[in-house]
């Protein structure tokens, strides 16, 4: 397998965004994943979200671990720097990158094996530190790349393709993210682009630890009867609590929904996220209630999706560390090196 460059033919009538880029400018090289893999749909949604938000692609850094899911950053945002790190350790690499330059947008892509098995610790600590990022887990309940072993998000009682029954309890990353203090938490389904794209946009606009669990069926190893991560199963059990619209600051807010069912959440940068409620009693600003709701619905066999929690006044790791406004990676000798005079003083104090 080698790298496949995508032919750069630009159709004259392709729509352009405010930066003059077409959707194609946000694409990467041709995917080498299995045809129909859920992960490819998530890549497409990321491309769509970045295009619609008029993001300059080179100001995005995409980082991942190891797995089919972690390969996907090659397949979107070809003008962004990417980093395919080691298995389960994307969160630490992203944290370090973020500390070095707070001005870029950090997009972490991971798998359920990557984040819930080998990397559970790093996932947890990165969330609890409040790293400003979009952290997407492409969750298929299996290790795709190593050919279909159960991952830690596989539900107890679900069946592998070969018929083995999973006897271990599953890890719900969304519940964990809520408990660990993520300030934006969403769940979606790779097969529901209408829900997924706005959620990714909301996560991108959020200044803080934004976590997204995206169920993403593995057509090769986990799309059969008895799997709880198959296309059919998720479609049948998907319980969306709300729908999102994301607007930039200048976009007008039109009230085309029934009053009471619509809420506008202003993000840190002034942009507006518009929420259309589906479950009338669901309040995405109440962390505790969200956790309870998720537990209840999960035990009823439902997969709750939508914007599950958002803190409209989040803070991030840079706030906690009180770091300077300029990126640390542009500071030079003048700011960083105390010079010979300070050293002389220090010498004098050490005699």
């Amino acid at each position: 397998m080698t790298y496949l460059a995508k032919p750069k033919l630009r159709h004259p009538e392709l729509p352009v965004n405010k930066l003059g880029y077409t959707r194609r400018d946000y694409e990467g090289s041709v995917s080498t994943l299995c045809a129909g893999c859920g992960h490819d749909s998530i890549s497409a949604a990321i491309i769509q979200a970045c295009f619609e938000l008029d993001l300059p692609p080179h100001r995005i850094a995409k980082l991942s671990g190891i797995g089919c899911s972690s390969k996907t950053p090659t397949y979107f945002l070809g003008h962004s720097h990417g980093f395919n790190s080691v298995h389960g350790r994307m969160p630490s690499v992203l944290t370090g990158a973020n500390l070095a330059n707070r001005d870029l947008l950090y997009l972490g892509v991971s798998g359920d094996g990557d984040s819930a098995s080998i990397g559970l610790g790093q996932f947890a600590h990165c969330i609890r530190r409040g790293v400003n990022m979009v952290y997407i887990v492409e969750n298929n309940g299996v290790y795709g790349l190593t050919k279909g072993q159960f991952s830690a998000t596989a539900d107890r009682g679900s069946k592998s393709k070969r018929g083995a029954v999973n006897s271990d309890s599953s890890i719900d990353l969304v519940s964990m993210a809520l408990q660990l203090g993520a300030t934006f938490v969403g769940r979606s389904f790779s097969g529901d682009k209408a829900q997924l794209v706005p959620l990714i946009k909301g996560a991108i606009l959020h200044k803080g630890a934004a976590f997204m669990d995206v169920i993403s069926p593995c057509v090769a190893f986990n799309n059969h009867l008895g799997s709880t991560k198959s296309f059919d199963y998720v479609r049948e059990h998907n319980e969306a609590v709300n729908r999102l619209d994301v607007m930039t600051p200048r976009a007008e807010i039109t009230a085309d929904y029934a009053p009471g069912a619509l809420e506008t959440v202003i993000q840190h940068d002034g942009s507006a996220v518009r929420l259309r409620k589906i479950a009338a009693d669901y309040d995405p600003h109440n962390r505790i209630a969200a956790m309870t709701y998720l537990q209840e619905r999960a035990s009823a066999g439902e997969v709750v999706t939508g914007l599950l929690y958002v803190d409209s006044d989040p803070s991030d790791l840079h706030d906690s560390l009180n770091t300077v406004g300029e990126p640390l990676n542009v500071l030079g000798e003048a700011e960083l090196c105390p010079g010979p005079a300070a050293l002389e003083k220090l010498n004098a104090s050490l005699r």
Partner: protein, 612 residues
């Protein structure tokens, strides 16, 4: 009874204390006041991996001649810990001195009749003077210092000045401490014959030298070297390096508006520490971690990634005795191999070996230039002996004109001008390619960093030719590193000799003392201190130029020697291992004994047997 030891400015005093009893500051005052008298001395902490209650020792070697290595043997024991009494008393040289708290009577069998007994009723005086139990404990420490000042003829004004400096800002505490000092001193002057045979005399041998810990110096090197990100996980003996960095940063890296020009993360483990360092290095910030052997073991996978994907990173490894948890509070040079070849697959890494705090500072700063220049992890190998002990060393210096070497980073302007960019393309023939930082240019210079194989343009490939091409270039880069690491330091013998000796790191002071002694014994060796890996040609030539070369190390397996045979293509028979690895710092006595034994007599036969 042998003659009481009588030596001026040349003896070893060892304190036995109970951990957590507050003795550390009194003991430090003892060492510092000797330095203030112009007499070189070297303290060493010997402590357990425990917080409170277990024994600790503080050994101070006083040496007008300036020998800073451990000597071995004790001339005076200040035995303040009943738990370790028997063992402590047994360590005293015949004719030496035993200082103890005589408040409670001790059976005669607890003493030796070949050492001089000095009893001072410390507890009794203390209890008469103070009622608060904590005060009794703390002032007892200062009191024995007062007593020693009389016995060893120390400059009491120097001690008082130091107390004043120590409690600056907490001025209330100065007078009571000075009072306790005099309580001990006055009692001793009145009741005992002062001074003893071992004593101090003002001198001028300290000069402008400074006194600090290697860990603190290395952290300061990181500040001067421009490090802005530190991620670490606590582990003895490296924690104080990260803590010192944090202290130095508060002082030197706070912007006028109070904001921090640095980021320090106490990570969840060493995997996360090195991951963060790599993330920051990839993104153009100078970053480091501080750890010890077990942390290095955990970091292996990531280190290979940084090597293969060519990401700058600095790792301070303050070595302690392994394997496994080993002796966590004892010193060794036992991670030379595990760092040189860290990670799976064919890897090799740049190592630096500082000898003292001054070099910890210099190499600490240099490591960041090397990491950026070579785009690879750089290991600075300290050990507990230099990391966690205060050591006399030359003052630190910095050239005002010095600039960071940020290595080959392609700029926006260069990309815009159409300069060819291939992330793994060797344009200059030194094996070092250009990199770009994320966010530099809207359409040029982006690439994908990965641990899988790739071609010169960072495109994923499993094609064998492209893989080998890249691996060969990495070797070429390592060749370039030879000229960039600090050159070895040579000390030629007074007369031509076919014998040489190689050594590195904290062995240096013991080695130079041993060389003096061997020379006085008529045994001449050319000596070379190795300061970096990959080994420069000079080191290999040195070995070639001698018939036999001793390699002195503080580990069991002769790790540097093995590295020399492999990387320098040297016949192992030429290299005679001299190994000290019981967890105590190596001594001149040991080196002189081991090498002297082999060189004794005219017909020196090469011994392959290892002395340990």
């Amino acid at each position: 009874m042998p003659q009481p030891i009588a030596r001026v400015n040349d003896f070893v005093v060892k304190f036995a204390n109970v951990n957590g009893s507050g003795s550390a500051s009194a003991n430090q005052l003892f060492a510092k006041s000797i330095l203030r008298m112009g007499v070189p001395c070297t303290p060493r902490n010997i402590f357990p991996s425990n917080i409170q209650g277990l024994p600790t020792w503080y050994e101070v070697r006083v040496s007008e001649a300036g020998h800073l290595g451990a000597r071995g043997g004790v001339d005076m024991f200040v035995a303040m810990n009943p738990q370790t009494w028997d063992k402590d008393v047994a360590e005293i040289e015949p004719g030496g001195y035993l200082f103890y708290d005589s408040s409670k009577p001790m059976p005669k069998s607890k003493f030796r009749d070949d050492v001089n007994i000095i009893g001072v009723p410390l507890t009794e005086i203390c209890n008469q003077t103070y009622s608060d139990p904590r005060q009794r404990q703390l002032f007892k420490n200062i009191m024995y210092l007062g007593s020693l000042s009389a016995l060893l003829d120390m400059d009491v004004a120097a001690i008082e000045t130091l107390i004043g400096e120590q409690f600056q800002g907490k001025d209330k505490l100065i007078a009571p401490n000075v009072k306790a000092l005099h309580l001990g001193r006055d009692w001793t002057l009145k009741n005992l014959a002062c001074p003893l045979g071992i004593k101090l005399q003002r001198s001028d041998k300290v000069g402008d030298r400074i006194f600090l810990e290697g860990n603190s110096a290395a952290a300061l090197g990181a500040v001067y070297g421009g490090a802005t990100m530190c991620a670490w996980y606590p582990i003895t003996p490296s924690s104080s390096l990260a803590e010192a960095f944090s202290r130095h940063c508060r002082k030197f890296r706070t912007a006028p508006d109070g904001k921090a020009r640095h980021a320090i993360i106490q990570a969840e483990d060493e995997l996360a520490s090195i991951g963060m360092v790599i993330g920051a290095g990839w993104n153009g910030a100078r970053a480091f971690t501080a750890t010890s052997g077990p942390g290095i073991s955990l970091m292996q996978e990531f280190i290979g990634l940084a090597y293969f994907a060519e990401i700058p990173a600095v790792i301070f490894n303050v070595q302690r005795a392994g394997p496994s948890t080993g002796m966590p509070t004892r010193t060794q040079q036992c991670d030379v191999m595990s760092c040189a070849y860290a990670s799976h697959g064919d890897t090799k890494h740049v190592l630096l070996f500082p000898e003292d705090p001054r070099e910890c500072f210099e190499m600490g700063a240099l490591s960041f230039d090397l990491a950026d220049r070579l785009q690879t992890p750089i290991f600075v190998l300290l050990d507990l002996d230099i990391g966690m002990n205060e050591r006399l060393c030359a003052p630190l210096s910095w050239d005002a004109k010095r600039r960071f070497d940020r290595g080959k980073v392609m700029t926006y302007e260069e990309l815009e001008a159409g300069k060819e960019f291939g992330r793994y393309l060797d344009v200059d023939g030194d094996g070092i390619p250009y990199r770009t930082l994320p966010g530099t240019h809207p359409t040029r210079g982006s690439f994908f960093t990965r641990g899988t194989s790739r071609d010169r343009y960072a495109r994923y490939t499993e094609e064998g030719g492209a893989y080998q091409d890249n691996m060969q270039r990495l070797l070429k880069k390592f060749e370039t590193a030879k000229k960039l690491v600090p050159a070895p330091v040579k000390r030629p013998a007074k007369q031509a000799t076919k014998f040489g000796v190689l050594y590195y790191g904290s062995t240096a002071p013991a080695m130079s003392e041993a060389l003096d002694q061997l020379e006085a014994d008529g045994m001449h060796l050319d000596a070379m201190r190795v300061r970096g890996f990959p080994f420069s040609d000079e080191i290999v030539d040195f070995v070639r130029a001698h018939e036999h070369v001793f390699v002195v190390e503080q580990n069991r397996d002769g790790q540097l020697r093995a590295l020399l045979t492999v990387e320098g293509n040297i016949d192992p028979a030429k290299l005679v291992a001299v190994l000290h690895y019981d967890g105590t710092p190596i001594t001149a006595r040991f080196i002189r004994g081991s090498i002297g034994k082999r060189l004794a007599g005219a017909n020196v036969t090469p011994l392959r047997k290892v002395v340990s």
